[in-house]
Subunit: 285 residues, 2 copies
Amino acid sequence: MSLTVENIQKSYRKQAVLKDVSIDFKEETIYGLLGRNGAGKSTLLNIISARIFADSGSVRLDSQRLIGNEVLQNRLFLMSEDNLYPKSMKVNKIFKLTEAFYGGFDWELANHLTQAFNLNPKLAFKKLSTGYRSILKLIVALSVPADYIFLDEPILGLDASHRDLFYRTLIQTYSDRPRTIVISTHLIEEIANIIEEFIIVDNGQVIEQKSGEAIKQSGATISGSQALVASFTEGMDVIGKDGLGGLVSYYVRDYQAQVIPEGISVSPLNLQAYFVQVTQREGEA
Amino acid sequence: MSLTVENIQKSYRKQAVLKDVSIDFKEETIYGLLGRNGAGKSTLLNIISARIFADSGSVRLDSQRLIGNEVLQNRLFLMSEDNLYPKSMKVNKIFKLTEAFYGGFDWELANHLTQAFNLNPKLAFKKLSTGYRSILKLIVALSVPADYIFLDEPILGLDASHRDLFYRTLIQTYSDRPRTIVISTHLIEEIANIIEEFIIVDNGQVIEQKSGEAIKQSGATISGSQALVASFTEGMDVIGKDGLGGLVSYYVRDYQAQVIPEGISVSPLNLQAYFVQVTQREGEA
């Protein structure tokens, strides 16, 4: 099984949104799709799942083009920020509709999650808050029998406890039934541990595709008291700083291993700091 | 100037969403409105800004009821998750419409922010991504001449750099023109430093109203190496744990000052950990 995106280009009114995007998605892998607001992530996901057309390029599953092939298209599922359900349709009706459309639905999982997230299945879609709309859409996405699941901003509006429950659910369902899951999100640090491979999109292009491990190892987090860390990192390429409790963490690129003084801790790079740095725009500080 | 919310009750189909909510909003104060998904935050903000009716209770500005009083209502502005603008209306037309409706608009600020956030003023609302819809609504909210600004999930879909720009903008406009700003959000740690007073809503009721300072001082963050922190916090009321770099932080309630061993750092409580704890539901861990 293979999903291949080749040379995708897309413009809106002469403005290029996707310039030339090619990605090979591996089987049974959890991807993180990162990018600034307006980088083209949602457009890309909509093209891959055949909801909108590219100007040129192709999306192929097992070498066959997806366009015009409904059987193939149903092996992909996109959970998007758009609210596509009829406003007055109830939650359990949406589940049934999904089952009819995709030819299958994991009712056991859906019922379990409906309870765990405290979602009322009798409510109409329009009565759900932003957070609960995300929860409904997540449950649908995890319950369809697709081989490729694309989650565009899945945790929009979710509170801290529900975000945590979502991350745990994702790991559980992936281990129960491995498939490829692509998550687009702005809360990078929160998903860092779940993601195997990161794809960074900037300005309509893939500027980096790397394993989380490789990104982490391309730099280091130096933590300790402010004075110690500042002196230890002098002359290093510091790309970001954070504070937690009375301690600070500096994020350093191209860290060279060396003797570490007492009171200093060196660990892998913080992904959010790395991302902010590589996608920084001119004039931003 | 005073804004008073008294004994608000609201049910949907016999289900109580707001049970009995009373809040006095102080002048020129930045509030954080926190609550789990479904706690009733958005319903409360919609009632305060007269977009929906309460079943009972009142909202008064300078002792006058807001209901039916358009002049008073225009002194409040709600930026909500709902997309109220006509889909094909362009950004700059939305600014003009807002000016006409509210009798004023800070064009200098709006133009500055449009540029800083890289928002194209000629795009139609429907062409904006979720992140840019939030950005547009934020710019509108900060540019209207209202005395009370309510921001419901203002940073929905914003990337890390844009969130940072928003926080800095908020502090700047508040210092230029102080007014009362109420922010409802799920990214608690990120706004912790901006907020003067927290209102925590759970299950349709205000369960706590406290200054950020008071919450922070009701507990402590204990940071250091895993082994040291675990041994130091033995017997304490640990309400949460976090890791950053090679270090851990434990969040402790009712911390009693004591001699602090070397390698341990004690600082104010982490707000998100505190919030998750006080709003935890039965069966959640």
